[in-house]
């Protein structure tokens, strides 16, 4: 039934696309742009990962073996900037490009030329950022948070970094506008907002967060720029400014930013768990409300990143309580996922394995987050390896596992080819072992008193650092398997079935396999929507 509706279009294929380089340079097709975003994210993931391995190699044992402390600081700074702005955010935009039109019954994104521009800003932005590795004074080394006055001690890298961040901000805002316009205006007739798949919902909310906070980051870095070049003293105490003000502005961007990284993951997991449990998502509406509440709360918790700057008691209490509140909607989500699996009929293909690992390990990161909310205890945890463990648990087996789960899940629909399930499972197994060996011991290190962002440490921390480094190399090397399994699937994978996952619902699965170049040239009919969207 589903196929007959779209069959004719599949046959006419009037996908006038230019060939060769022009297809990509002038790309306006959501799938082409989505692919470019994903490939770009993958390249940045490996570059940022290489920097992480430089860090872990230096920390393998006490003493300085490989790098200068200044270069080490550049590595931690660049690793964070590359992973956040280069790997995770573009990967989500790539998935949104691919999936949003397919899931809402649209032919393409609403603003295809803007889409092209927002992608092509990225390579230029990262070229600028990576160029800083070769300028006098080296790459930025003050941490990705760019706290002044330290960030103002940077050499020639400074303007390049600021300009790169501006470009990334513009790119993110344009991408977000495109998602909002597509979701609000291009839904097939009959698809109400509360009929949308959760991935579209989480992305819609993420897009609003992006539009709200990227300008704040732009403002903060512009003030840094004028402090550096034009003699202003927004953040210079000697001129009547305050370095702490930067932290408030930065984290007003920064906390919503961490939800920008994780909300789409909630969406992907909310698609995958029902599919492989063969049961509809439990509590769909409460999922939507929980996502919206998390987004709202993200604007009023920023100062929990800076409890040690010396805030008044009332401020500390407020930010402690508001931060603890986030546990409630997050808990609702985790419980809903558990209830979705309960009384299901569960099978364990690679996307589900990654989603299950997400469920366990994101929850673990959430629990350490709850500990961090307790201000007096945070005075010990703050800026220690405990924090490093916490945010890597929510970002690596959180956001990145969800991205990989999404790629495995939708790849057959994208390419018409199946990945090798055995290698996929091996990739899952090695990644999950690696990530835990890498990050779990960092809880111990932090509690025992090891500060973050240090290139060398006292010998009492040697044992767990060695374990952590072993885990890092295991995790890093196993990601080559990911590239291999995707590459070999695209090149020579077995032909995928029309419905590769028997339990999958949603409009994207009603399209032929591989999905046609222009997804839904005529909107899907109401029966297809009601059959597809909600099961």
């Amino acid at each position: 039934m589903a196929n007959s509706a779209t069959h004719d279009h599949a046959l006419d294929h009037h996908d006038h696309k230019p060939h060769g380089l022009k297809r990509w340079l002038y790309a306006t097709n959501h799938k082409d742009i989505g692919t470019m975003y994903l490939v770009f994210a993958c390249v940045m993931f490996f570059l940022g990962g290489t920097m992480a391995l430089v860090i872990r190699a230096e920390l393998f044992q006490p003493g300085l073996q490989f790098v200068d402390p200044g270069f080490y600081n550049s590595m931690t700074t660049m690793h964070a900037l590359l992973m956040i702005f280069g790997a995770v955010m573009p990967a989500w935009t790539g998935l949104a490009n691919w999936m949003v039109p397919m899931q809402v019954g649209a032919p393409d994104m609403a603003l295809p030329r803007l889409n092209n521009f927002s992608f092509w800003l990225l390579p230029f932005a990262f070229t600028l950022l990576l160029l800083t590795l070769f300028v006098p004074g080296g790459a930025p080394a003050g941490g990705w948070t760019l706290y002044p006055p330290l960030s103002l001690q940077a050499g020639d890298s400074f303007p390049l970094t600021i300009f790169a961040i501006h470009l990334l901000g513009i790119s993110s805002i344009l991408g977000a506008i495109n998602v909002v316009v597509t979701i609000l205006n291009m839904r097939a007739p009959g698809m109400s907002l509360l009929n949308m798949p959760l991935f579209c919902w989480t992305w819609l909310i993420t897009a609003y967060l992006l539009i709200a906070v990227m300008p704040v980051l732009a403002g903060a870095v512009t003030m840094l720029l004028t402090d550096y070049f034009f003699g202003t003293s927004f953040f210079a105490a000697s001129g009547g400014g305050d370095p702490v003000m930067f932290q408030h502005i930065f984290w007003f961007f920064g906390h919503p930013e961490v939800y920008i990284l994780i909300l789409p993951a909630f969406g992907v997991v909310s698609e995958i768990i029902p599919t492989f449990s063969r049961k509809p998502l439990f509590g769909y509406e409460s999922m939507v409300f929980a996502t919206a509440s998390i987004a709202f709360l993200s604007f009023i918790v920023w100062a929990h990143h800076m409890f040690t700057v010396g805030m008044p008691l009332a401020g500390q209490l407020f930010f402690m309580l508001s931060t603890m509140l986030i546990a409630v909607p997050t808990g609702v989500k985790v419980f809903n996922w558990c209830a979705t699996m309960w009384k299901g009929s569960i099978s364990f293909e690679t996307p589900m394995l990654f989603a299950v690992a997400f469920l366990f390990l994101f929850t673990l990161g959430g629990l350490s987050g709850l500990m961090l909310a307790i201000v007096p205890a945070d005075f010990q945890y703050h800026d220690s390896y405990f924090v490093v463990a916490h945010f890597h648990y929510v970002l690596v087996p959180g956001a990145i596992f969800a991205i990989m789960a999404g790629v495995y899940y939708w790849l057959p629909k994208w390419t018409g080819r199946m990945y090798n399930e055995k290698i996929g499972k091996l990739h899952f197994l090695l990644s999950t072992i690696g990530v835990n060996v890498l990050f779990f011991p960092q809880h111990f290190l932090g509690l025992a008193g090891m500060p973050r962002r240090i290139p060398d440490y006292s010998t009492q921390f040697a044992d767990w650092n060695m374990v952590s480094s072993v885990g890092a190399f295991l995790f890093g090397v196993s990601q080559l398997l990911f590239v291999y399994v995707i590459w070999s699937a695209v090149r020579s994978g077995e032909k995928a079935a029309e419905r590769p996952w028997e339990g999958a619902h949603g409009l994207e699965w009603q399209l032929p396999t591989p999905a046609p170049y222009h997804s839904w040239e005529t909107p899907p009919s109401r029966p297809i929507i009601s059959h597809g969207a909600m099961l």
Binding site: P62, G63, L64, D68, N73, G142, Y147, L150, A237, G240, D242, P243, R278, K279, P280, F282, E285, S286, T308, V309, G310, M311, P312, L313, L317, M320, M324, A327, V334, C338, A339, M341, W342, G344, S345, I346, S347, V356, L364, L370, I374, P376, F379, Q380, H382, D383, S384, N436, F440, F444, L447, A448, G449, P451, I454, P455, D456, D463, W464, V467
Partner: protein, 299 residues
């Protein structure tokens, strides 16, 4: 449960969670948890840490138990049939909203109480101005005319150079040793006034329970009162990234008896020990710079 039993249990829990328990034989492997510390506040903070930790373990046992149960009991390979009617339950959703709220309130009350105690800097007996600068600490005993710099001990500094060829294991207290430690008496409420010369630093001694940022143009307060009988050396580090040698800016505090403290202070004033002329001059500049700054008008 006694505190020893709890500590042992928590250590075990951490080790099991790490699935690395078999390695726990080696001395340093056992370094798994926050130190209890030697001050009134550090013990309260440790107790809070353990309480929230046990709540997290309880929540974890429940949630992970539920997940594992579902994953095992409802396997398709074992012939599980999905119950596709189970899509919503207002009752369940109310329960799993309300229970977490209750747990949070239970946690928030003691946390707020400890926080209020931490912020209570009245009745301090000694005030020391601590100034962070790249990459050493400066201590100024207010009203005592005793001030000096404290920087990484020479043995560590030589060993930590890239390609030094010195095995860090052979250096005593590698990276956690200084030339002139901060000297404070036991059983005395000591207040630190923290500020910085150049960039933001953070003063942290885990055994004292907390850290605080030292920020240019701001003066932050932190107090501790070390238990009677807990004399000795306590070590920590700068905790806020402060540039190239951030990792080489340790904090060492020597806790002495009140009598020893008085004698030490008199000796310092008489100029019989370490701080050199040069460092005193620099200090005067630093003090003037800090005094000239506006009082922190931060909200």
């Amino acid at each position: 449960m006694t505190r020893h039993a709890r500590t042992a249990l928590s250590a075990t829990a951490f080790a099991i969670l790490g699935s690395l328990a078999p390695l726990a034989g080696h001395a340093e492997w056992g370094n798994l948890n926050m130190p209890v510390g030697v001050t009134v506040l550090s013990k309260e903070i440790h107790a809070l840490h353990m309480t929230i930790f046990w709540w997290c373990v309880a929540i974890g046992v429940f949630v992970f138990g539920w997940m594992i149960w579902s994953l095992v009991a409802f396997r398709k390979s074992q012939g599980a049939k999905p119950d596709t009617t189970m899509v919503h339950s207002t009752k369940a959703e109310i329960i799993w909203t309300v229970i977490p709220v209750v747990i949070l309130v239970i946690m928030a009350v003691p946390a707020a109480r400890t926080l209020i105690a931490i912020e209570d800097t009245r009745n301090t007996e000694i005030s020391i101005k601590v100034t962070g600068q790249q990459w050493k600490w400066h201590y100024d005993y207010l009203g005592e005319d005793v001030k000096f710099f404290s920087s990484l001990a020479r043995a560590s500094d030589e060993a930590r150079q890239l390609g030094s060829g010195v095995n860090p294991e052979s250096v005593e207290n590698y990276l956690l040793d200084v030339d002139n430690p901060l000297v404070v008496p036991e059983d005395t409420k000591v207040r630190l006034l923290l500020t910085a010369q150049d960039v933001i630093h953070a003063w942290w001694v885990p055994a004292f329970g907390m850290k605080k940022d030292a920020i240019p143009g701001n003066v932050n307060e932190l107090w501790f009162k070390i238990d009677k009988g807990k004399t000795g050396l306590y070590r920590g580090q700068c905790a806020e990234l402060c540039g190239r040698d951030h990792g080489f800016m340790p904090v060492v505090v020597k806790v002495v008896t009140k009598d020893e403290y008085r004698i030490w202070l008199a000796g310092q004033r008489a100029g019989t020990s370490t701080p050199s002329e040069a460092s005193t001059e620099l200090t005067a500049d630093a003090a003037a710079a800090v005094a000239a700054l506006p009082a922190a008008p931060r909200g």
